[in-house]
Amino acid sequence: MRQNVLRPGLLVDINDLPLNRVEDLPEGGLRIGALARMSDVAQAAGVVQRFPVISQALLLGASAQLRNMASMGGNLCQRVRCSYFRDATSPCNKRDPGSGCAALDGFNRGHAILGTSDKCIATHPSDVAVALVAMDAVVHTRGPADDRAIPIEEFFLLPGDTPEREHPLEHGELIVAIEVPATPTARLSIYLKFRDRESYEFALVSVAAAVRIQDGAIADVRLALGGVGTKPWRARRAEASLVGKLAGEASFAEAAGQELAAAKPRPLNAFKVELAQRAIIRALMTLTNGDTR
């Protein structure tokens, strides 16, 4: 709004709604209120112990000051960092549908390589959403008509031909909570974030990973990528490739390669294809080896 990108006619302050709790659910899941602050969620005992990937993703996002203020619902709804979207001047299909995409042939080093369309290649900026996508979270909403429970992968829409539409919320519909189902695999989970500077910076690539090994083979694996997708990217091809395989660099590299085979890079962000694969391997090696960063 400060940059004249959005010009809403009416703003409603929802900060007084009683939606800021972080609750442990009886079966081992979490229910996170939409107004819970990032910093509170990151420190909640149930999150730290049962979902380290969520806590780590939160702590690697934004800055301490922002985490103290930013809500979880707001985090999911944050707008993209594409400088052409934010300059309020360049053609941008997300800001001004039909005007074109200046990023396609512009300065797009930070842009997405997965889930792109010829209308938009803006990267989804959230960290915690990547962890939540890996954990199969569910977004609970309340609208004028009814309540809905939206699986988080469906909450984030691919740009396709309608990049202006980023999530399926209807007019008057509000996120009330995010539920994370019990996920024993998440106890061995990690969020790795790679970026140009050490803090207060968006990811070039990030990886949320969780893995359960049984008899040397991968029994369950969760893998999602940030910094490379137009939405928080669940790496389902890689997961499918990994299940049942022996944990090791070869199987990790094979899975990473399969996931990134679908990448559509531009000249300035082509490095992300290789970087993302190496990041996936690093995350899985770290989880399975106790490999140190």
């Binding site: 940059q3 004249n4 960092r81 400088s83 052409y84 934010r86 300059d87 001047t89 360049s90 200046a102 042939d105 512009g106 300065f107 080093r109 790679f194 970026r195 140009d196 500077r197 050490e198 803090s199 207060y200 910076e201 070039l204 660099e249 590299a253 082509a270 490095f271 290789e274 970087l275 190496r278 990041a279 391997i281 690093r282 090696m285 490999d291 140190t292 960063r293």
Partner: protein
């Protein structure tokens, strides 16, 4: 004299700054103040075909709008660096004089309103149509039409330098190094944006301006508006960083004065962050190509150093690639050439170590390559080439200290025993590398007479004044020390007053010269008062010092005594009261040595860096930096260290983060925000150690001060780049160095780690 020079005094402006009582130029409360917002051109080249201000004028609170249709005409003023002490516009172009657009962001309208938000809103309502013409905004686009200018750097330097015969030098060489480098543009981004508040009282103009030189602001606005400088007063106490962005006087200052005249109210303009990328210059996008010739024992025989860069349509600006880079080593053959491309950008300007930061980077990376090729330790290679005289003139250095910088820096860093083999050290996923570089920064005597006034009261307290300003460097602290020292009184008994053009003249503290030139005037003023009173005492039959040799009298704590006999003497107070004097006063002045002074003039240093590079992902983090510097006399080791440390971190930033990227389709910077233009955060800062090597200098003013403002950055980026090579075995010849440059050169996957394999580097 009182020994307060050289003490690690904490900043006297610290409490005011941390409690928020220090008022900056955008925080001056004024009745009836209105706010201005500039509308910048959306296109990079063309003409304005229509401007419709009707909607904006009807917006709530709008007091007036100026465009080229109603903007008064201003005088043409040539571009001269503020160092020289005259009018110093940042570019010879002044906006809103006609309908031509030369660069994106060029001011095309200025909107004034009762409130800041009202001005911001109304600015979005100004409707402007353009007839756009093709633009050139990168070197690549204009390379075919590159030209060799006569002079660069605001006319200060020739575009070409030659010494000896470079062809003979290359012919005599056993080894050649040929290294081209590319550098992204840089923007200064001080945290306080450029801010001007203009107040007219009849024909008298008062400006509160966030600047590096209040006199330069006064003279520039006077020249542009055709006013007498006596009608203009500039008041600037605190400035929130500058880094060269405020060294010159940019159009918005005069635009604010004209807007205030138009609406007949005080007007404030604070540039929004986005406009900081199109309002106060930048370090230009550039390429440098260096060729070294050397004998097999490491003696340089020839250096060819060429640069091509992009400038504005109006000015031949290039930061010099090879001022210092031509002076560090005794190489018989040197050839330096600058070439320029005219483009649709504003005129570039001084940016943190202008010239040296990039030129010395180029030289020092090539020297590292030479050391690798010859199998000579990088420090040893430099020791074989350094020189006791300026190789361009043959004059001895006014003071040196470079050998000590290498020695003490190396010791502090732990350089000895370094394994020169790249990729020879690995901790976990991190490849560890070390690198070093020489640093140098010029001392330029372009300034005119510097003046200060010292005023001592009969109670032994003093006010010392000069027209400088505090832009975060520690000037006000250090000058208080110099004044106290010169007067021979305690630090708490001196009030240093500054930030007002009505005070005695001080030049713009640019080019790292502030401490040297301002301290010279302050010292001379303080000692002039001291000498008056000593003279009075020795000629006063009632004084215990009667008949003493004035040269044998010392002053400390406000008491004059015989040197070596502390019991014989009296205080200033007793002398002044006896003579019924309420005060004593003197103006001190200092003129720099002539430009052809027979001395080589550089400040020297040595930089060391240890970096960690993620062996698979190419992420670079700096772990340790050591800088050893010989800045003449150190007035305050605490503030000096802080400045040098800051400079070294800027060097890290230059090496790894900072780059502004042009979108050539629109001729606009593509990352004009602090979210997209990265500078380091605290988490990036490594351990930084600074060694101060004091050297005696009898040329650079009465105190022998050189400067610490910028040399901290010079060589720091080269040390890091050399360390990245040492860590990875690959030389990146582009700044900033980023993941994508390294990734293809790092053997993929953790296999190399798992097997502990050393890649084949041959």
């Amino acid at each position: 004299m009182s020994g307060v020079i050289g003490q690690a005094v904490s900043r006297i402006d610290g409490p005011a700054k941390v409690t928020g009582s220090a008022h900056y130029s955008g925080e001056i409360a004024l009745p009836g103040l209105a706010y201005a917002e500039i509308v910048g051109a959306r296109v990079a080249s063309g003409r304005i075909t229509s401007i419709d201000t009707a909607q904006a004028e009807d917006a709530e609170g709008v007091a007036g709008i100026l465009t080229h249709l109603n903007m008064p005409k201003v005088n043409n003023v040539p571009l001269l660096p503020s160092l020289i002490g005259g009018p110093a516009p940042g570019e010879t172009f002044f906006p809103m004089q006609d309908d031509v657009v030369h660069y994106a962001g060029q001011p095309v309208a200025i909107v004034v309103a009762d409130g800041l938000e009202q001005a911001q809103h109304a600015a979005t309502l100004v409707q402007i149509s353009y007839a756009e013409t093709p633009s050139i905004t990168t070197i690549d686009q204009g390379r075919a039409d590159a030209y060799e200018p006569e002079k660069i750097f605001g006319g200060l330097m020739p575009a070409q330098t030659r010494r000896g015969n470079v062809e003979d030098g290359f012919a005599a060489a056993d080894l050649l190094i040929d290294a081209p480098f590319r550098f992204a543009a840089n923007h200064h981004n001080p945290i306080e944006a450029l801010t001007t508040t203009a107040v007219w009282d009849g024909d008298q103009l008062t400006l509160y301006d966030s600047c590096q030189g209040i006199k330069a602001v006064q003279l520039t606005v006077a020249a542009l508006l055709g006013l007498s400088p006596s009608k203009i007063r500039v008041l600037t106490r605190y400035v929130g960083g500058a880094f060269g962005a405020k060294a010159m006087v940019w159009p918005h200052v005069t635009l604010t004065a004209l807007a205030a005249q138009y609406v007949r109210r005080p007007v404030r303009l604070a540039l929004p962050r986005g406009q900081m990328f199109t309002s106060c210059g930048h370090r230009e996008e550039q390429e440098q190509h260096i060729e070294l010739g050397a004998t097999s024992d490491g003696k340089l025989t020839a250096i060819r150093h060429h640069k091509i860069s992009i400038t504005s349509p109006f000015d031949d600006w290039a930061e010099p690639a090879f001022g210092v880079a031509s002076q560090l080593y005794a190489c018989p053959g040197f050839e330096g050439v600058h070439r320029l491309v005219r483009g649709n950008t504003m005129t570039p300007t001084f940016t943190r170590g202008p010239g040296e930061a990039v030129g010395v980077f180029t030289l020092e990376c090539a020297m590292d390559e030479l050391a690798s090729e010859l199998g000579i330790d990088p420090i040893e290679l430099r020791l074989r080439n350094i020189t006791d005289v300026d190789p361009n003139t043959g004059h001895p250095w006014s003071s040196y200290g470079l050998r000590e910088c290498f020695e003490r820096g190396a010791r502090r860093f732990g350089w000895a025993g370094r394994n020169p083999q790249p990729r020879s050290e690995r901790h976990g996923n991190w490849l560890i590398g070390t690198g070093m570089a020489t640093a140098g920064y010029p001392i330029a005597f372009f300034m005119h007479t510097q003046r200060a006034r010292a005023h001592l009261y009969a109670d032994g307290t003093a006010i010392v004044q000069t027209a400088t300003q505090e832009f975060g460097t520690g000037t006000s602290t250090v000058m208080t020390q110099v004044a106290a020292d010169g007067l021979g009184i305690g630090l708490r008994d001196v009030r240093f007053e500054f930030g007002d053009t009505d005070l005695p003249n001080a030049g713009s503290p640019v080019g790292s010269n502030g401490a040297m030139m301002v301290s010279a005037a302050v010292h001379n003023a303080a000692t002039a008062v001291r000498d008056q009173l000593i003279t009075l005492a020795v000629s006063d039959s009632q004084s215990p010092l009667h008949g003493a040799d004035p040269a044998g009298v010392v002053v400390a704590g406000g008491r004059m005594t015989l040197a070596g006999d502390a019991n014989t003497g009296e205080t200033y107070s007793s002398l002044m009261q006896r003579h019924i004097m309420s005060d004593a006063e003197a103006i001190g002045s200092w003129d720099p040595p002539p430009l052809d002074t027979p001395h080589g003039l550089l400040t020297f240093g040595a930089q060391f860096a240890r970096v960690a590079v993620d062996a698979d992902l190419g992420i670079i983090r700096v772990r340790h930096m050591v800088g050893a510097f010989a800045p003449g006399r150190v007035l305050n080791p605490k503030t000096a260290r802080s400045q040098l440390m800051g400079g070294m971190l800027w060097g890290m930033s230059q090496a790894l983060l900072e780059g502004t990227h042009m979108d050539t389709r629109h001729g606009r910077w593509a990352n004009a925000s602090l979210g997209d233009y990265l500078v380091p955060v605290n988490a990036d800062a490594p351990d930084v150690d600074v060694e101060l090597i004091e050297v005696e200098d009898h040329v650079t003013g009465p105190l022998g001060v050189k400067g610490v403002g910028e040399i901290g950055q010079v060589g720091a980026a080269a040390a890091i780049a050399n360390a990245v090579y040492h860590a990875t075995g690959y030389r990146v010849r582009e700044l900033p160095i980023a993941v994508e440059h390294l990734l293809a050169h790092l053997p993929s996957g953790p296999a190399s780690a798992a097997a502990g394999a050393q890649p084949d580097l041959t």
